[in-house]
């Protein structure tokens, strides 16, 4: 299990070198997006006002305050990705996104798109928002402010992580592996407890 530090925007090569179980930290700019952001892109057909080629997107809706006309983070955490499944293949295929940072994983469609185009799902430690907030150096820009707090957040990050590669560009899916393994192990446990 290797450790990587990647700078954004990332390349296809950056992503194809990663395997499930690897650990990644990110530097540079990432984009915070959530449900409403992606409903506008895909249901309303509005192209995002930023170039997402090689981008890493974070599933978040930050808790911020305004100081001297600028947004500063109060608490930035990560939301569950599973709800975002229906949008993610489109983000990868149409807009060139190469990484999603989230928790709890994505479905089959996203995993296929990741394999085909060279993208990865990077699992953050859910609930570790204090750390995440300190790894976000600045909110550089906010697009689609009317969707507050589900705008597009341009965030400058310094060593965001550690993130675990949970779905890689080679068909690997750590959640699936763990689930299958758990089902197998539990057959023995159930038998021992006389539960079958």
């Amino acid at each position: 299990m290797a450790q990587f530090t990647l700078a954004t925007p990332v390349t296809e090569h950056d992503m194809r070198q990663l395997r499930v179980g690897d650990s990644v930290s990110l530097n540079g700019v990432i984009f915070g997006i959530r449900d409403a952001t992606q409903r506008r892109i895909f249901d309303d057909g509005v192209a995002p006002p930023v170039d997402l080629h090689g981008a890493i997107c974070l599933h978040t809706a930050p808790n911020v305050k305004k100081e001297d006309g600028r947004y500063v983070p109060v608490c930035i955490g990560t939301t569950t990705s599973t709800r975002m499944e229906r949008f993610t293949p489109g983000l990868i295929e149409q807009y060139g996104v190469r990484g999603i940072v989230g928790k709890a994983g994505l479905g089959e469609g996203s995993a296929r798109a990741m394999q085909r185009y060279g993208a990865c799902y990077l699992a953050i430690v859910g609930g570790a928002a204090a750390l995440e907030t300190t790894q976000i150096e600045a909110i550089e820009a906010v697009y689609w402010e009317d969707l507050m707090p589900e705008c597009i957040w341009q965030l400058r990050v310094n060593m965001l992580g550690p993130l675990t590669v949970a779905i890689d560009a080679h068909g690997g899916n750590l959640y699936e592996q763990v689930r299958e393994d758990a089902a197998k192990r539990m057959r023995d446990v159930y038998r021992e407890l006389g539960l079958e």
């Binding site: 299990m1 179980g21 650990s23 808790n63 305050k65 109060v74 608490c75 930035i76 955490g77 990560t78 569950t80 928790k103 709890a104 994983g105 699992a123 430690v125 859910g126 609930g127 570790a128 928002a129 204090a130 750390l131 907030t133 300190t134 550690p162 675990t164 949970a166 750590l174 959640y175 592996q177 763990v178 689930r179 393994d181 758990a182 089902a183 192990r185 539990m186 446990v189 159930y190 407890l193 006389g194 539960l195």
Partner: protein, 293 residues
């Protein structure tokens, strides 16, 4: 007979909410540290270390541990040496809950269940959940607070099993649920289980079980043995922290029971995430106040 200072109750209710979001109880941190000592998977070790680092960062920088401000729950226990106006007591707690949200300030996670419209101050119809109980040997009032996170609260199940299913049925139901949830609700989790009572009492007991410090077994050895057996079984699944594999899926299993009907066998599971947020305050009849977890 001691008198209640309702202003102090209000301030305490507010303080408890903020404390619960920022300070992880020492028994929870200790349980994560113990898990780290035994964890054999390197990825899982990284996650547990990150969690511990996060707890320290929150403390050092006065930040919330996690972004979810939760659904506020207050459990109030009233002793027999204080006289209480219940309506004033409840109003003070509600006001304190709103104060915390508005003056900290932090995000209100509360919304209307039909329109989904957000409430501005962490209160709403029946929210905060305020629960009263009484204890003859308690000096003053004890308030326990839990800002329950949605990720773990969504991992809740209840079933009316058949009496013939017995304790085996209970075990199977719990393990099936926990396995299905995988890493959802930010594992390593604390699993609260309610057995017996009525349907809603079983769920309430499961939640009550989450208020117990991790590592304190049930005083009834038969129930404590069941807690150990289920914890061991859950951790043998290998689901691990965040569902990414490892020896640490749960930090504890806590069971609370009530007697039930001869033709009923209710069981409920209510999970808690690694944050295991809770805070408590003991307001003595003479006006002293003591904060804890």
């Amino acid at each position: 007979m001691g008198q209640i200072d309702y202003g102090q109750v209000q301030r305490t209710a507010s303080d408890l909410y903020v404390r619960a979001l920022k300070l992880i109880p020492p028994d929870v941190t200790a349980a994560i540290e113990r898990a780290l000592e035994h964890e054999t998977k390197s990825g899982a070790r990284d996650i547990l270390q990150t969690i511990l680092k996060n707890v320290r960062v929150a403390l050092d920088r006065n930040l919330m541990v996690c972004q979810d401000t939760g659904i506020p729950i207050y459990k109030v226990k009233i002793g027999s040496n204080v006289s209480v106006d219940g309506t004033k007591l409840e109003a003070a707690i509600r006001a304190g809950c709103a104060d915390a949200c508005v003056t900290h300030p932090f995000r209100s996670s509360i919304c209307d269940p039909l329109t989904r419209q957000n409430r501005p101050d962490s209160t709403g119809d029946h929210i905060p959940v305020v629960d009263f109980s009484f204890a003859a040997d308690l000096d003053g009032i004890e308030i326990r607070m839990m800002p329950k996170g949605s990720g773990s609260e969504n991992m809740t199940w209840m079933k009316m099993l058949l009496p013939a299913d017995g304790v085996k049925g209970v075990k199977k139901f719990v393990l099936d649920c926990v396995l299905r949830a995988g890493g959802q609700g930010c594992t390593p989790s604390l699993i609260g289980i309610g057995v017996g009572g009525t349907a809603e009492l079983a769920v309430k007991l499961a939640k009550e079980a989450l208020f117990r410090p991790i590592g304190r077994p049930h005083p009834d050895e038969r129930i404590a043995a069941l807690e150990r057996e289920l914890l061991d079984a859950i951790n043998r699944s290998g689901i691990g922290p965040m569902g990414l594999g490892g020896d640490t899926t749960s930090l504890g299993v806590h069971i609370e029971t009530a007697d039930t009907h001869i033709t009923m066998n209710p069981v409920a599971v209510n999970s808690q995430c690694w944050r295991s947020e809770r805070a408590s305050a003991h307001m003595y009849a003479d006006g002293r106040i003591e904060f804890g977890y």
